[in-house]
């Protein structure tokens, strides 16, 4: 970076000592998490698998809203399609685990022809436009007569080929691997030129275009990544909860969960959605059986966070303490007379 030369007294820095340590820590943590099925109980393995699906969903929705400024209330389209494709593939002779992986990619492929139309919509138009897309996908899948009895749904029976223990462990490792790959891809994306372009678009699309940012392309990449992620989550969900019902797998509550996780954790921060997913997982675990009141609470919390804590838990922590664990942005540091960097986040 040449910023130092142009502006004496300032230095641009991406890695801080904390962020180097924490990135190494993340690597070690992933290694440890891979050992969970061997080391810990079956119930912990199952619950962590569910948590990873939530992490994927939260991170993907945050990629759309927090980085590309796209509020979608139709991500259940891809979640539902992921499950649908997984069943379709596995009943047509593709192996269970390959079909889980391919399903996410197919959901992403569907998003490619949709993106040039939807991404030209702004704000609320995009939000509800995506909801209509989700409804059309839902109606289409609902009308697929080869899926047993349409609305009553069908079961992901291919999994029965594996015994319960193997299935649990394979599900866990596959979900962990896909979650790490998706978050890694997002991390790489945000650190590339595209990441800077996205944040410029989110802050002011017209201004970004006027300085030559290819807005449609940048948003399109995130849109497709989010579709792959939500599709993969929908397929992986089926591996743990094998009943596929179009009305529930294409339900708008999935988007409500994503919004809750991203908002509570911290919109536009990399770490926030992971925290949001953990919070959501604990709430689901503790109060999920409260049915309606639990949903009222989620909606209410979303309103309160949107109004009062728009930066979410992690955004607030980052702001107050100036911590950044995983460096997706840059720090602008004042080089003081002693040559020691100060702490001025950019």
């Amino acid at each position: 970076m040449s910023a130092h030369a142009e502006h004496p007294g300032l230095a641009v820095q991406r890695w801080t000592r904390t962020s180097i340590a924490s990135t190494l820590g993340v690597g070690a943590l992933i290694g440890l998490l891979a050992l969970v099925p061997v080391a810990l109980s079956a119930s912990v393995t199952d619950r962590l698998t569910t948590l990873y699906v939530y992490v994927i969903l939260a991170a993907m929705w945050n990629a759309l809203a927090g980085y590309a400024g796209l509020v979608s209330v139709g991500q259940q389209a891809f979640f539902g399609l992921g499950g649908y494709f997984a069943i379709k593939l596995s009943t047509n002779g593709v192996g269970v685990y390959p079909s889980l992986v391919l399903a996410g990619l197919l959901a992403g492929a569907i998003s490619i022809p949709i993106s040039p139309f939807m991404l030209r919509l702004r704000g609320g138009e995009f939000a509800i436009g995506m909801w209509v897309v989700a409804e059309v996908c839902h109606l289409y899948v609902n009308g697929d007569r080869s899926l047993v009895a349409g609305a009553t749904g069908t079961s992901f029976t291919g999994l029965n080929a594996y015994n319960t223990t193997d299935r649990r462990d394979y599900n866990y490792w596959l979900t962990l691997t896909i979650a790490v790959l998706l978050l890694g891809a997002l991390f790489a994306l945000l650190r590339s030129r595209l990441g800077a372009a996205l944040q410029a678009i989110r802050d002011d699309e017209d201004a970004a275009r006027s300085v030559g940012v290819r807005a449609l392309w940048a948003k399109g990449v995130v849109f497709v990544l989010a579709a792959v992620g939500c599709g993969a989550a929908g397929a992986l969900w089926l591996a743990s909860f094998p009943t596929f019902q179009p009305a529930s797998n294409f339900g708008v509550q999935w988007t409500a969960y994503m919004i809750f996780m991203a908002l509570v954790g911290g919109l536009g921060t990399f770490e926030g959605p992971i925290i949001g997913a953990i919070v959501f997982f604990v709430i689901q675990d503790q109060w999920g059986d409260q049915g309606v009141w639990y949903l009222v609470g989620l909606g209410g919390a979303a309103i309160l966070f949107a109004l009062l804590v728009p930066r979410g838990v992690w955004g607030t922590v980052e702001e107050r303490f100036g911590i950044r664990l995983l460096p997706v942005g840059y720090w602008l540091r004042k080089v003081t007379a002693h040559g020691r960097p100060g702490t001025e986040p950019a």
Binding site: G123, V296, L307
Partner: protein, 304 residues
């Protein structure tokens, strides 16, 4: 002549969609906000009327209570939620109104359960009485009342916006809130008033929905989508909601007819046909816009 009948029924259905969509269009026009709780607020209005009719109040009389209550609720909604949301950028109003939608529908479910409700018993013979035009075409009296009300609501809103000082202040604020403030318009009051009007029209639509068909606590999701489709098809203007509502209504009734005659797989009937027409209009609008950016249709064709 079955097809003609379906087109006529579609036009009549458009009246309901126009009332439903007018509030959504008004808020978008004045504040650039798309209220994701709009459909659920319409259903909330219907349930408020239901509480009154369960206590023996006539459903038409109940409107005299429900509409002012919902309008007052709209004012509070602006001051309590939307005002703060608008200050925080373009994403936050979407997030907060979506949260509100989830809260409203689940509270309604908690209070009223999953049963299908309607005002059929409250409106007596109006539920089914109709004029027989030809042997194939019947026109429901209720549908005509709703269409006339829609024209009345849109006309009333237009007169309000063009002839009253508050209406003119609303248009000025929609154009440029800062300049409007400079010439003495209280934009806060204007926005609160617009939200109040939007909620009153939403509640009116909700009550009409309950006269036409059954509804339940989660019916609002579909109503939001229909309202939005009508607004977009109609071109985001007040009278456009009537055009959009009618196009949407015809798409839905004709779609159902096509399914009934075995022309289409059932997935594209009813709501599905409406969604498809909406997406086609949207795609057309976007393609046209993209062509305009490159200098219009003629230039692009000339180059090729």
């Amino acid at each position: 002549m079955n097809w003609l009948d379906q087109v006529i029924q579609g036009i009549l259905l458009g009246g309901y969609y126009a009332i439903l969509a007018s509030g959504l269009a008004l808020l978008f026009g004045v504040m650039r906000v798309i209220n994701l709780a709009h459909g659920d607020l319409a259903i909330l209005g219907a349930f408020l009327a239901l509480v009154l009719t369960d206590h023996g109040v006539d459903v038409w009389v109940s409107l005299a209570v429900v509409l002012p209550v919902m309008a007052a609720g709209g004012g509070l909604l602006y001051l309590g939620v939307l005002e703060r949301s608008l200050r925080s950028g373009v994403l936050v109003p979407l997030l907060s109104t979506f949260g509100l939608a989830i809260v409203i529908e689940n509270l309604l479910f908690e209070k009223f359960g999953a049963d299908q409700r309607s005002f059929f018993s409250s409106i007596g013979t109006l539920a089914y009485s109709s004029w027989q035009v030809t042997s194939q075409i019947t026109i429901g009296k209720l549908d005509v009342i709703i269409l006339c009300t829609a024209i009345g609501v849109l006309g009333g809103l237009q007169i309000f916006l063009s002839r009253t000082s508050l209406g003119r202040a609303m248009r000025a604020t929609a154009e440029d809130p800062d300049t409007a403030e400079l010439v003495g318009v209280n934009s806060r009051a204007v926005y609160a008033m617009a939200t109040a009007l939007a909620l009153a029209t939403a509640a009116l639509a909700g009550v009409f929905l309950g006269m036409r068909q059954t509804f339940d606590p989660y019916a609002g999701q579909a109503q939001l989508i229909f309202a939005f489709e009508a607004v977009v098809i109609g071109g985001m203007t007040l009278w456009g909601t009537l055009v959009g509502g009618i196009v949407l209504g015809i798409a839905q009734t004709v779609g159902n007819q096509m399914v009934a005659e075995g022309w289409l797989k059932d997935v594209w009937g009813g709501a599905g046909a409406g969604h498809v027409v909406f997406l086609v209009v949207l795609a057309g609008r976007l393609i046209y816009g993209a062509l305009e950016e490159r200098g219009g249709v003629r230039t692009v064709l000339g180059r090729a």
